[in-house]
Symmetry: C2
Subunit: 195 residues, 2 copies
């Protein structure tokens, strides 16, 4: 029993490092960059509050579990900003190695229960995974709008880049959220052009 608990706590203490992984997105007040742990919490709240945007085959409880786990691999692999340049295949390989190590800290039965939840999110094939992915793409624009530009300014992002890298993916799992976000993004960029 104690040895099992030691492993569970070793994993939970390792997970603490996600609080020190910095993202490209700022807090709504612009005061600092967001870290991945608090981002993950925020997304679980998005899921609770925006559950009316999920299709009938989406299981919100399962979406929340995916969102709790979805970025754990960033402890080793770091965050890849949506508008940064990176090699998708290489990132995927890095994240697989990270998942082996991090889920490998757990007692085997727990790893075998939780890792497939992360795999499902990554594969983005089930309705729940697609909705979870849409929320993950929808939150950064909401923060950027609130903070007056955020990572769009830092990365010289155009509306077309947002449509391609963010909009298409939000649209897959939560089309009404993309309609909503797009209108706000259009207005934001129009206002910026006129200043």
């Amino acid at each position: 029993m104690t040895e099992r608990l030691e492993q569970q706590i070793a994993f939970l203490n390792e997970a603490d490092k996600l609080k020190s992984v910095s993202r490209a997105t700022r807090l709504c007040d612009g005061s600092r960059f967001e870290n991945t742990a608090e981002h993950s919490w925020h997304l679980t709240l998005y899921a609770l509050v925006l559950s009316d945007q999920a299709g009938p085959d989406v299981d919100i409880g399962h979406v929340i579990k995916m969102l709790i786990l979805h970025d754990l691999v960033e402890i080793d692999a770091g965050d890849n900003p949506i508008f940064g340049t990176f090699d998708g295949t290489e990132v995927e390989a890095q994240e697989k190695v990270a998942a082996d190590r991090i889920f490998g800290l757990l007692p085997r039965d727990i790893a075998e229960r939780l890792r497939p939840v992360w795999e499902e999110f990554e594969a983005a094939q089930t309705p729940s995974a697609r909705f979870a992915k849409s929320l993950d793409r929808f939150q950064p624009p909401m923060q950027n709008l609130a903070s007056g530009g955020g990572s769009w300014t830092d990365y010289n992002v155009t509306e077309q880049m947002i449509d391609e890298r963010v909009g298409r993916k939000i649209n897959i799992g939560a089309p009404a959220l993309w309609t909503f976000a797009r209108a706000k993004i259009r207005a934001f960029f129009a206002a910026r052009r006129n200043t």
Copy 2:
């Protein structure tokens, strides 16, 4: 539709402030104080990983929802460190006012769905709420042990104080976690006396 979404996003943007509420507990590496948003995420992960410590009447999905929401009121009411001095009745009153305001930002049907989840956590009467409360008390000692003392050092805490303010509450919902933590706490204080 758009007006409803505006309210949902206003709530989610307000919730972002939880990332700026500082707690008395440090990260495992001792580098800084933990904030309440990342603490909330960590607790949801505790629930996923330590679900084998829950009694048969505990619904882990529901526990996770409680943990996502449990500290939202701290946006207005702040965090009250476990070993600090505060007036419990006054804190309760402040948190009720905070809940009125914060849940009040949501469309009414969502507020009526989520606020009772927070109330259930606060009341600590159901098996799920008791387990959630136990995890909330169990995580800080794990962080303090990892960081070499943390808030125990800052607040001049004795083993007896931990037994009373932390142990009793962990013991209600997750007795084996308290047995585990107590042994580690005993060893930690014994080692500190001998240096």
